[in-house]
Subunit: 200 residues, 2 copies
Amino acid sequence: MTEQVTEAEYRSRLMDGMAAAVAEKGYAETTIADIVRLARVSKRTFYQHFASKEECLLALYTAATDQLIEVIRRAIEGAHDMHSRVRCAHRAYLQRIKEHPLLMRTLFIEILAAGSRGLQVRRAANQRFADLLRATGADQQYDSPQKRHITPALAMAIVGGINELILQAMESNQIERLLEIEEPATALLEAVLARPIADD
Amino acid sequence: MTEQVTEAEYRSRLMDGMAAAVAEKGYAETTIADIVRLARVSKRTFYQHFASKEECLLALYTAATDQLIEVIRRAIEGAHDMHSRVRCAHRAYLQRIKEHPLLMRTLFIEILAAGSRGLQVRRAANQRFADLLRATGADQQYDSPQKRHITPALAMAIVGGINELILQAMESNQIERLLEIEEPATALLEAVLARPIADD
């Protein structure tokens, strides 16, 4: 029997090829030739799945978001109280960024240059992080009913705030300082979770 | 005596021309011909001050930040307690965005596509907003010494969080919903200002 490679597998291979190329030499230097070589497919196969390098970036962005959400979800499952959940989630997230600095730089920074479709996939990703945050915040309500529910807008503000700290470290090429973000990011989230209900 | 126009005035006129053109037709549609017509200067003068349309955008971005910082500083001066300061600052800021939606869209969104120099001016602007926030937070300490000082990282996270809410409204072309941001933005800031000092 010959090896059966489904279309979905080709697509996934191409995104892995893109990620490997970007991790190696950055997005700007990455060529479609690099991607197909690392993916062990033909250029023709590339163009059957993606119209351009940017299109492949957008797909990779979405796939990488899926993985990050999964990493965070698993980190949260292992922790029992809210405080350690927040810490575990941040650590898992930041550890992943530290492990793949060039790839993450692409996903955080270069996506901003990808026009309105770049903004669209970024917005969808932020929405998923905000939803995950709210789901976690909602659990918290059962522990201590006086704690306020996180509204969708507040959850998005927290996601934006943490992203800003990550961008700040990345823009200054201080990827090694990323773990320093844990403290302010945790403080931000915990301040919101602990805020009084008086002004509801 | 003939009219003396200094180089600084030409530069300022060109940025006003750029702002007017962008407010009228958006950044993508704006041409250098539009800018010089509205600025009442020659194309030659444009190129004496800016190498390109993008260069002029970067300068406008910085000038618009100066104005926004000034608007917010004045709004804060008129308010006496922290709560009304925060509200006045947000209202002044959001009002300005509502008055110049296309211009502000350019400054919030198109700057992201302006490569590393775009990120640089954006980072400098965010730093100024974060510094202003900290200066205001420091005043607060005198009112109630048990309130925690806002660290530089937390101030940047708040700026990023509020920006995210503005971006969300702008990306969905819901500029009319911008004033709805006031509540979550204020809640975010007040939660951080009011957080307990126990875990210092």
